[in-house]
């Protein structure tokens, strides 16, 4: 197994405020890591920093992705290199057809990688294939990007995009938020089908229940801009039982994160 993603001492600011304060993480190809933590701990920030969103300023540290310096790349180049962010709140683009959007994206990525551009016939064939794998219907194809989609449809659309774009590294930002249990199962099932030995995934979530369906190789706890605990799937269960307040009680030996959790909870 090789290290796909190596984050070293990552510090990042948003609107002048330091959110990530020395985060370290290593992810191997084929692994799924869950990142859990209280609201405001910096979970979404980590996703945005990896994807290169503007306004998320890295002040220190390094991110190597397949040996390349990710921080030097524009957001679209990172996407083309295989970084995919499934948004917590997928964005609506009125009037832009979902299929057209996805084909533009896929062809931009293929072009970047020096691959042949897919025409609409070839693209539709690929789309049908993916829909079948994910067990989802084609009703989302004909609508505008996320416009008027229900919460569940939006999240399914993210997973569908991921299936078509076939990223190397997928970051799922609170993909479970706002989903009822059936929708959650559908989405989780889709994610599981996309598990592969060449693909790494970071699943960011506030709740343990998603991890009943997507079983991670590792669970990290993010608090006050750092990973304060790492364990197996059992760590998630413990968090579920005891809540994040448990961190405050010194549940993790020698870590004092109480003040951090408080400041991170506005």
């Amino acid at each position: 197994m090789s290290i796909m993603l190596k984050i070293t001492d990552l510090h990042a600011k948003v609107a002048g405020k330091e959110i990530l304060k020395g985060l370290n993480l290593e992810l191997e190809a084929g692994e799924i890591h869950a990142i859990m933590g209280p609201n405001g701990a910096g979970k979404s920030t980590l996703g945005y920093v990896l994807a290169g969103r503007e306004g998320y300023e890295v002040t220190r540290g390094e991110i190597l992705f397949n040996g390349k310096n990710l921080l030097e790349m524009e957001p679209e180049a990172r996407a083309c290199e295989g970084v995919f962010l499934a948004f917590q709140y997928p964005v609506e683009i009125p009037g832009v057809n979902n299929t057209y959007f996805l084909r533009t994206a896929l062809n931009a990525q293929r072009k970047y990688r020096g691959e042949e551009i897919l025409d609409s016939v070839g693209f539709l064939r690929l789309v049908r294939e993916k829909l079948e794998v994910l067990h989802i219907g084609d009703e989302l194809l004909h609508r505008a990007v996320n416009e008027g989609f229900s919460g569940g449809e939006k999240k399914r659309n993210e997973i569908f995009q991921m299936a078509v774009l076939e990223p190397t590294l997928a970051i799922l930002d609170e993909t479970d938020s706002g989903l009822d249990i059936d929708a959650l199962k559908t989405v989780a099932e889709g994610v599981n089908r996309l598990r592969s030995k060449d693909r790494g995934m970071i699943v960011v979530t506030h709740y343990q229940r998603l991890l009943d369906y997507i079983v991670p190789d590792k669970v990290h706890v993010l608090a006050d801009g750092r990973l304060v605990a790492t364990g197996g799937a059992e760590l998630a269960l413990k968090l579920e039982e005891q809540g994040y307040a448990w961190l405050e009680d010194g549940g993790i030996a020698s870590l004092n994160v109480a003040s951090a959790v408080q400041t991170a909870n506005p």
Partner: protein, 482 residues
């Protein structure tokens, strides 16, 4: 946001692609406006006496009028004596009878504009009546149209060959003293298009006119008149482009549409006149009066416009819904970039019973552009069961531009239903990032988002022109990159 700023910077740097001057000797009147100038124009065009009198009457009205200042526009004073009111390509006397006789340089000009007359006409099945400055130089498909009974010719030609129709309808929708610029147009108009669709005829092809302002300091005052008799259908498109000049050029057109019982007129405009440079220098002043009269019952007039050019746009294509059950529609995309200003919208005047109108307006502002929607919906006392739906959306790209909405609603009949929806959004940093994160470049993302925003209007355009309009918006937003 840096990314947004760089997109805007690129847009601000974008150059006008149609800026070139055709080197043709023009037969141009010296600058200045007087009754003598009007007589000279009329004489050159060998007009009948009644038309000269009509022009002079308009001119006398105009002298007593004042330039309106109610629009949300900053307009430098216009020196009407500094403008030349007539400019024709030299070959005026023996005008070309077919495209083969047209000055090759002219054809080359159209080529540069991306409007190769014959190619385009043949491929797209479009008859193009091209107005080069003030005189029409080529009309295609005329014979085929004539077979269907359709008259499609230059305005001057119509005056010579169909004077009774011109006299009957000219000024019947936009009266001579309607407004300052319309009065000026009535006095000095030089050419334009004339369309007549006889009773029950469905025009066999899209009719199209390309206008282009060429001679320096030449105002262009076209006059378009479209008459659709009972039960007839016509779809008409005008495209406009002007070369790049430092000084502002005045354009004041008048378009009149008349739809009799059960007639259907669709009028589409793609306007790409020189907008001035990145500092707001130069560009076309576009003061246009467009009005359609749904004179007969169940008639329908639909205006679709895509406005990306001109330094100043002052334009309100309107419908007078006189006939019972008549329908008026207005679909508009107006884009202002750099220092462009647009004050545009529509008027829907409901007079007949069960009249319906629909207004979809999309304003896009970038750079220092200022974009105002101004619309009037008037329900008169005897307009029983009138309906209006207005949707007015503005998109801001960057932080130095502005969007303004001035809706006027006058309802004098209690059975009326009038709806107005308005939104303003900044091109989402969210939307942009979402596209980038999927691997789409910033430039492609902006044009995709804008295109989606305009979709409701684009789908009203005839197919081949929808493609063109989309391309035009992309060009206007594309920037110098690539």
């Amino acid at each position: 946001m840096n990314g947004e700023t760089s997109t805007i910077d690129k847009m601000v740097e974008q150059k006008y692609r149609h800026g070139f001057v055709t080197d043709i000797e023009s037969d141009t009147l010296p600058p200045g406006l007087s009754e003598d100038v009007i007589r000279a124009i009329s004489a050159r065009k060998k007009e009948p006496e009644w038309l000269l009198e009509w022009r002079l009457k308009a001119y006398r009205h105009w002298l007593e009028m004042e330039q309106p200042d109610w629009a949300h526009l900053k307009i430098d004073a216009i020196d009407f004596q500094a403008i030349s009111y007539f400019s024709a390509p030299k070959k005026d006397k023996d005008r070309p009878q077919s495209l083969d006789e047209v000055d090759p340089k002219l054809l080359e000009t159209y080529d540069k504009l991306g409007v190769p007359l014959h190619e385009r006409a043949r491929l797209a099945g479009v008859a193009v009546d091209a107005v080069f400055d003030s005189v029409s130089v080529g009309t295609t498909f005329k014979a085929e149209l004539r077979k269907a009974g359709v008259i499609f010719c230059s305005f001057s030609e119509a005056v010579q060959e169909h004077p009774e129709l011109v006299q009957k309808y000219l000024g019947s929708v936009v009266p001579q003293r309607d407004n300052y610029f319309a009065a000026l147009n009535c006095a000095v108009f030089t050419d334009g298009s004339f369309v007549f669709i006889p009773k029950g005829v469905r025009c066999p092809m899209e009719l199209s006119t390309y206008f282009r302002i060429n001679a320096a300091e030449t105002g262009q005052f076209e006059r378009t008149l479209i008459v659709a008799e009972e039960g007839s259908h016509v779809s008409y498109l005008e495209g406009c482009t002007a070369p790049m000049r430092d000084e502002n050029q005045l354009h004041a057109a008048v378009v009149e549409l008349i739809a009799l019982e059960d007639a259907n007129i669709k009028y589409s405009t793609v306007q790409n006149w020189y907008p001035g440079d990145e500092n707001g220098k130069g560009g076309i002043y576009n003061f246009v009066t467009k009005r359609g009269d749904c004179r007969g019952a169940r008639s329908r007039i639909s205006w679709t416009q895509v406005e990306t050019g001109s330094a100043i746009t002052w334009k309100y294509p309107s419908c007078i819904l006189r006939g019972d059950d008549s329908v008026g529609e207005f679909y508009s995309v107006a884009l202002t970039n750099n220092y462009q200003q647009a004050d545009t919208g529509t008027k829907m005047i409901h007079i007949g019973k069960n009249t319906r109108s629909k207004i979809i307006s999309k304003g896009i502002s970038a750079g220092h552009g200022q974009n105002a929607y101004r619309g009037l919906v008037r329900i008169t006392p005897r307009a029983e069961n009138a309906r209006n739906y207005t949707q007015c959306d503005s998109m801001l790209i960057g932080k130095k531009c502005g969007a303004h909405t001035f809706p006027y609603i006058e309802v004098r009949n209690p059975t009326a239903k009038v709806e107005h929806e308005a939104t303003t959004s900044r091109i989402g940093e969210d939307q942009l990032f979402y596209c980038l994160q999927r691997g789409i470049s910033e430039e492609d993302a902006v044009s995709m988002i804008v295109d989606g925003f305009c979709k409701q209007v684009f789908r009203e355009l005839p197919m081949e022109f929808a493609v063109e309009a989309k391309a035009l918006l992309e060009v206007s937003l594309e920037g110098a990159v690539g």
